[in-house]
Structures are given as structure tokens and as C-alpha cells.
Symmetry: C2
Amino acid sequence: MTEVVILEKKVLNENQRLAAELRERFARAGTLVVNLISSPGSGKTRLLERTLESLPAGVRAAVLTGDIQTDADATRLARFGFPVRQITTGGTCHLDAKMIDWHLEGWDLDALDILFIENVGNLVCPSSYDLGEEAKIVLLSVTEGEEKPLKYPSIFFKSKLILLTKIDLLPYVPFDYALACANARSVNAEADILGVSCQTDTGLREWMEWLGAKLPATELQPR
Amino acid sequence: MTEVVILEKKVLNENQRLAAELRERFARAGTLVVNLISSPGSGKTRLLERTLESLPAGVRAAVLTGDIQTDADATRLARFGFPVRQITTGGTCHLDAKMIDWHLEGWDLDALDILFIENVGNLVCPSSYDLGEEAKIVLLSVTEGEEKPLKYPSIFFKSKLILLTKIDLLPYVPFDYALACANARSVNAEADILGVSCQTDTGLREWMEWLGAKLPATELQPR
């Protein structure tokens, strides 16, 4: 099916071109953009809730959140007073640069310190689509199994941070934490790895510090 | 991007044609085929392990198991003495009918009562690809959240059985079981819904009975 491969390449090239434009716009505006990717239900929205409520006063944040259907996540995230827009893909399994471009319409990037992009819940397809972000961040819940970095290497390879989420559940699931880290390292020796729980707040300080280090103008400390 | 839509349609039409052929072959051979679909880490492989070891003597089963990378699942599943083949998609986010056709090569369907297909871990894309199965079965782990049927309606709509997995974790996660069932029902009023745990074996008898009812020649009861 060469026809499919050629067209895929064309779509990805066009996406890459637009992502490069977005990256330049974000850089000019001084907006840090992170792209959160994981399986459905690994805790992207919950992490964003905890993050938005922990941002120091004065940090100007916004969220674009993607889903196949529903605007449930935007509703959850809008409670924190930051601008939030839902991108409902209507069947498409990933966000692409064009969707980001469209949904930024009317937002003043110069007035944003950080833009969180929550991708569609899917550990496969979103890894192929550059959104102009500074960093992809992959979340892997400890309920999903420690072999996932080996089975889904692309997104682990491309991420600057690997978040092992729901670590409060470690006593109840057969998950070898050290092996998960070793598997992640074998795919990507450079990425940072943090364990977090939004139930117990374990690791959230380190997560905010990780973000803060990317945002030189501001010190991010949990309130 | 009409070009993309047209090509997608062409690919899906070609898949549908081949899936219809497969369905006819399975029917002629009297082979029950089920297609297990879920997010990564919802417990497809673990359920198949428990299923294979619970099959009554004399039931002739086989497994095709899909992953982007690694043959870890085939290795896990081969321990039970049934024929198992790994389909390593090398980046493709779903199984399609052609992959099934290829990997059946040399297997005598007349000698198979049941073929389990474990799809790539992905709650989105596999729902679009008919594999000639008698039933799609979607697994949703209780760690993933009760709103997932609304966010990923396609696969819940197309499944004959919805398995809520890892119910042993219910005391430790904020999951509203009744709401999850109501959400599933709102997308698909016809599907059966079962809760299972492969840690405590809760619900496994009902799961085996569900399979058994599709296999009239044999009574499937957990050993």
C-alpha cells in the first residue's frame, strides 16, 4: 500500500511545517508549551487539575484539551480560572498542529507563560504529530504494567519527561517500579523520570519544579 | 484534506471486503472469533492467560496477539500449550484484516473451536477495523475512569461485551461503577456488561459462561 505510505508522509510533512511555525510563535511569545500524552485514564486531566491549582499567583496559564467526544475535561479544568478550550476531534485519534493553530485563535500568546496541551488518550498515534511543543511528556499509570515503554517505544523515546502516575496504587498492583524505569531508560536514556500520585500528592513538588526549571522567569512552587 | 478522507475510505472498504471473507471462512470452519480491544494495560493479556488455563479439556483454542513492538505477550500466552502467534505491527496502531489473514497461514481453522484476537492496546483506532470476528469485546479497567464510554463511544458502541476489569482495585480508586455501567448503556443498550478481576477471579465464571454461550458445541466452565 505505497499510496497510503506516501500520503501519510505528506500529511506528516505538512504537520511538521505547521508545527515549526507554531514553535517559532511560542518562542517569540516566550510561552512554554508542553504536550501531555498517555493511554486513556492514566491521569492527564487529574494532573492538570492539581497543577493549575498549584500554580503560583501571577503565572499565566492556559489549556487546550483534546478528546474524541465530550467536553468533560474542559469543564473540569475551567474551574481553576485559566482559559481552557476543548478540542473535540470527532473520531480522530490524535491532535495535530492545525487543530492547535485553530484553537489558539484569539488568544494572546504574549500574555501566556505556559500552555498545557492534553492530547487524546492514546499511547500510539499522538507521538507522530509534532504540535510545536517544547516538550512531550508521557504519563504511564502503574496499573498499566512495567513493559509498556518497550511495547510503545515511540512516545517514550520522544518524551523529555516520563511520569509514572497513580503510585499510591503500588501496594495493590503487580508493578515492578525499578523494572519500569529500566525499560523506560532502555528506550530513552535522556528523559527525566518522576513518580507521582494526585491522591497523596507524592511527587507533585518535583513535577512543579521540573516545569519551573523550563520557565526561567518564574519560580513554580506548589502553594 | 479530502485526499486523506478518500484514501481512508478506500483502505476501510478494502479491509471490510477482506473481513467479510474471513468471517465466511470462520463460519464455515465453525470457529468462534473474538476481538479483544482496550487501552494499553487494561488487562487483555492477563484475561487471556486466565481464560486459556480455564478452558475445559478438549476445547481447541488459538491466539493472535498484536503489539507495536515486542513478542512479550505471545511468550506469556504460549505457556498454556495452545497455538499463539504474535503480530508485531511495527508502528501501526491497530490490527487489520490483512494481518489476520497473513497470520492464519498454515493453521487449520476446522481444528479450532475458538480464536482469540488480542488487538493493539488502543481504545480508538482498532474500533474501525473489522477483523471478521463474531464479537468485539472492549475491556475498561476501573482505574481508567467511568466517563470513558462517553469519550470513546465508537468501540463501546460496536462491542457485544463490555468487561470492567481490575475490579479488585475498586476500594482504592475513585470509580463510580454504577455510573460507568450507565455511561456504557447510554452508548450501547444491547451489550452485556461484566465486572471481572483476574487477581481475585471475581466474574471469571460469568465470562467463561458468556464465551460458552457463543460456543454451543462445548460447555465452558472454569476448571
